[in-house]
């Protein structure tokens, strides 16, 4: 059974410390939600896990089934079973989604025959109500926000990762698409997918049952709980969690506790 285990992960972006020691464990079959105010480091966490350039890990580990992801290239991480659905999917001019998925499946030793690939893609596209024409278009180029998110969901379904980090997959999706994506995730074989879903909205958790909800403030997980935590958050906002950590207070006061 697959497991993503993030331990004390700290990272900088452009020389500035963004993540200050994140701990998380996501096992196959589980859905974990990460919620937090704008700029608290959610996407940074997602990018650091996937190995995007521009970040420096300063402490901690991220293990996928015991392998330290942080030493792997982005391709090797994908190969190891990690998938990232991006908050702002990158436009790649001239490169068709069809060719991307074909190349990925071939590299994974799956579905080398063109006919099989087409069948797989059209089945998945239908399940997610993604127009097949999207496959022939350049990745994310001139797509609407919702189409981009549907494209990310389609890739998730086709690539069958062990662990998926979904960075605001729900923003931009209409209600039907959101349901279809949630259903598709839940239909993944029970031993299959572990999900780390970054979101601002309990709306997502209404359709996608979360086992755990984590609240991230200023680069740290400050609270974790069951789905009720999201409801509480909805009522109270982030303020009650948004207190400087003791160490920061100590620095401000110029002495240690």
């Amino acid at each position: 059974m697959s497991q993503l285990s993030v331990e004390g992960l700290a990272a900088n972006a452009a020389g500035e410390a963004i993540l200050h020691g994140v701990d998380l464990q996501v096992s196959a079959g589980e859905v974990h939600a990460v919620m937090g105010p704008n700029g608290c480091g959610k996407s940074t966490l997602a990018h650091v896990l996937a190995g995007r350039h521009g970040y420096t890990v300063t402490a901690g580990r991220a293990l996928l089934d015991g392998r330290d992801l942080l030493t792997l290239s982005p391709f090797e991480r994908a190969r190891a079973g990690l998938f990232l659905a991006m908050q702002y999917p990158t436009e790649v001019p001239g490169v068709k989604l069809l060719d991307v998925l074909g190349a990925s499946l071939r590299a994974a030793g799956r579905s080398p025959v063109a006919a099989d690939l087409e069948a797989l893609l059209s089945t998945e596209a239908e399940r997610l109500s993604v127009p097949a024409a999207l496959l022939e278009r350049a990745v994310n180029v001139d797509l609407s926000g919702g189409e981009q998110k549907r494209g990310e969901a389609l890739q998730l379904a086709v690539l069958r990762p062990r662990i998926a980090v979904l960075d605001e997959i729900d923003s931009g999706l209409d209600v039907d698409a959101l349901r279809a994506v949630a259903r598709r995730i839940e239909e993944a074989p029970t031993e299959g997918l572990g999900v780390l879903a970054i979101t601002h909205y309990t709306r997502l958790l209404g359709v996608l049952r979360a086992d755990r909800v984590h609240i991230m403030i200023r680069g740290r997980i400050v609270a974790s709980g069951g789905p009720e935590l999201a409801d509480e958050l909805e009522r109270t906002g982030y303020e009650r969690w948004d207190r400087p950590a003791p160490a920061e207070v100590a620095v401000k006061l110029g002495r240690s506790f």
Binding site: S73, F75, V92, G94, A103
Partner: protein, 429 residues
């Protein structure tokens, strides 16, 4: 010190076959070659060019008389037909000699004429009518030593459904050839022409000139295909004029050559004329690919759109400089010029120099250029989907060329470039 003028001389020009007017023309140009200087990189049109490093004395003129290497052309033609599909006509020059001219009955019935100019009485303006006085010694050399000039005529109203291909092959080592082509498309006529240059692995010096005349409301798609060998030096020039409501699409596909230069002058001389130019090029190893373009607007309401897209890898260099010239009479001009270069290795070098010269206020002109490596975000996105790095790079490079590849004229022939580019990107990718 040996000098190329010792070999490329009046005597050599005098020994070439052809009608009296052609011989006369060659002799005058050969005289001029005798006193001409090689251009220097100090001249704007040769800036950044390694022209000073050429040693022209290393090349041999094509022997006069027939050639016995032409038999080898047969295989080549077979493979070209497989690659290019149906053609209206196929004209082949081999080591500077015209060896084959084939026209389908349908194209002949439509009025297509392929005329070897060497045998003809002087057709008015067929040589030099568009180009005018050669702007450099290479143009003069072509005037002086073009051994087999060819004129393609597409008469008024004729429509050719399939492309005409002119294929110039250089096979003998160290040979210098001066291919010359004129294309005249009459009023309202339509044609597609491919002018291809191929050479083997050995040194060669290929100096083509092409002149294109697009009549009123005529349409011409014209593609130069440069697939010279890695040791070849190619210095090519295409000059075109488009009459009112005429439409010309000029394409350049340049993947070969050690040093390969193309200069394109497109003059929109009639009201409402359109001249589109596109180029797709890929340099690797020590190749130097050099492009100079002139979009000349000399009539009102003319429209030109240029898109030059290239990649350089290893230690290759590319040079692009383009000038949009809008004359005082060309109000309502719309001119666009875009150059994009992808740098695939650290050791490459690319220059992109756009220029504007505008003498009318009522115009819309824009130029844009970009030179840079593969976007890290693109690479990350594909890799994070499980696409291996080498495949990701190939997809990105092919994607980078996608737009211009779709815009090149004579698509049935341009399609063959995909494979050439793929081979250049590398077997691992």
């Amino acid at each position: 010190m040996p000098d190329f003028r010792d070999v490329f001389s009046v005597a050599y020009a005098a020994g070439l076959d052809g009608a009296g007017w052609l011989q006369q023309r060659r002799l005058e140009a050969a005289e001029a070659v005798g006193t001409a200087e090689l251009p220097s990189a100090a001249e704007e049109e040769w800036r950044y060019s390694p022209v000073a490093k050429l040693s022209l004395e290393a090349y041999l003129p094509a022997p006069s008389g027939g050639t016995n290497g032409a038999a080898g052309a047969g295989d080549l033609l077979g493979s070209l037909r497989d690659r290019w599909g149906v053609l209206s006509a196929l004209v082949v020059t081999f080591d500077g000699h015209l060896v084959s001219t084939q026209i389908t009955p349908a194209a002949a019935a439509a009025g297509l004429a392929v005329r070897p100019l060497g045998d003809e009485p002087e057709p008015a303006g067929a040589l030099g009518g568009v180009l005018g006085e050669p702007s450099d010694v290479f143009g003069l050399m072509n005037d002086a030593f073009c051994s087999a000039p060819v004129l393609l005529e597409i008469p008024r109203g004729a429509r050719l459904t399939d492309p005409v291909a002119v294929v110039n092959v250089v096979s003998a080592p160290s040979l210098a050839v001066f291919p010359r082509l004129s294309v005249v498309v009459g009023d309202g006529a339509e044609a597609q022409v491919v002018n291809a240059f191929l050479s083997g692995p050995q040194e060669a010096f290929v100096v083509p000139v092409a002149e294109l005349t697009v009549g009123p409301a005529a349409r011409l798609q014209y593609l130069t295909l440069q697939e010279l060998g890695p040791q070849a030096v190619g210095i090519e020039q295409t000059a075109a004029t488009v009459a009112s409501q005429g439409h010309l699409a000029i394409g350049l596909a340049a993947v070969g050559g050690g040093y390969a230069r193309s200069r394109v002058d497109c003059t929109l001389s009639g009201r409402g004329a359109t001249g589109d130019m596109s180029a797709m090029y890929f340099g690797d190893r020590d190749q130097v690919l050099d492009f100079r373009t002139f979009q000349n607007h000399s009539a009102p309401d003319t429209n030109s759109n240029l898109l030059f897209v290239g990649a350089v890898e290893d230690r290759a260099r590319s040079i692009y400089s383009g000038l949009i010239r809008v004359g005082p009479e060309a109000r309502g001009t719309d001119a666009q010029q875009t150059n994009r270069i992808l740098k695939l290795s650290e050791g490459v070098w690319a220059d992109s120099v756009p220029n504007l010269e505008i003498e009318n206020n009522d115009v819309r002109c824009a130029h844009a250029s970009s030179v840079g490596p593969i976007d890290e975000d693109h690479r990350f996105y594909l890799e994070s989907r499980g696409v291996p790095p080498d495949v990701a790079e190939r997809l990105i490079v092919e994607g980078f060329f996608g737009e211009v590849r779709g815009r090149l004229p004579v698509q049935s022939v341009a399609a063959g470039l995909d494979e050439v580019v793929r081979a250049k990107i590398g077997p691992g990718r």
